[in-house]
Amino acid sequence: GMPVEQNPPALSLYEGAESGLRCNFSTTMKGVQWFQQNHRGRLITLFYLAQGTKENGRLKSTFNSKERYSTLHIKDAQLEDSGTYFCAVEALNNNAPRFGAGTKLSVKP
């Protein structure tokens, strides 16, 4: 398969802090999707991007197909943001989205 790399593997934030997660890929992609997997294991869609930037509340994501990366920025972190964040990407000639290994986020009071 094609490598999809997520950084950092783990991240710890205090409530109210902000930080960014990154997803790097080795070839041109159709799009990227970001998920949060909560403590119950449910994969919750945060964003799908085919280009540019999207924002939703405290979350913002960008997709740079040319530079081959995507970012997810979280501001004003809350306890419920804890979980594992995955990016999934699909190459132009591929048929199924592939996942990075995830970033485990812990938000502390």
């Binding site: 999707q33 294991g41 449910r42 799908y48 048929n95 199924a96 989205p97």
Partner: protein, 112 residues
């Protein structure tokens, strides 16, 4: 809102048994997928179907076989389970050409 339904939620079985997992989506999507999430939380694509036709078949052991009766259903059968099959199996769907993946809640398989 849940629109991809998986059954069962959990299944415990012994080595060598056969198991079958069901997945149904009510979104009207053309494409369905099975992913395996292992104990390290790595998510790997196993199969992808588009309108009942197999389009992606990753390198999975032959004891795994997907079954699709129509574009809304994609089941997964495992003949003769092995200990390494213990994992969470996640079903997803999307419109043709991807756009957004919608996941079910998963089936956790434990092989004793």
């Amino acid at each position: 809102e849940t629109a991809v339904f998986q059954t069962p939620n959990y299944h415990v079985t012994q080595v060598g048994n056969e198991v079958s997992f069901n997945c149904k989506q009510t979104l009207g999507h053309d494409t369905m997928y099975w992913y395996k999430q292992d104990s390290k939380k790595l998510l790997k694509i196993m199969f992808s179907y588009n309108n009942k036709q197999l389009i992606v078949n990753e390198t999975v052991p032959r004891r795994f076989s997907p079954q699709s009766s129509d574009k809304a259903h994609l089941n997964l059968r495992i003949k003769s389970v092995e200990p390494e099959d213990s994992a969470v199996y996640l079903c997803a769907s999307s419109v043709l050409g991807w756009n957004t993946l919608y996941f079910g809640a998963g089936t956790r398989l434990s092989v004793l």
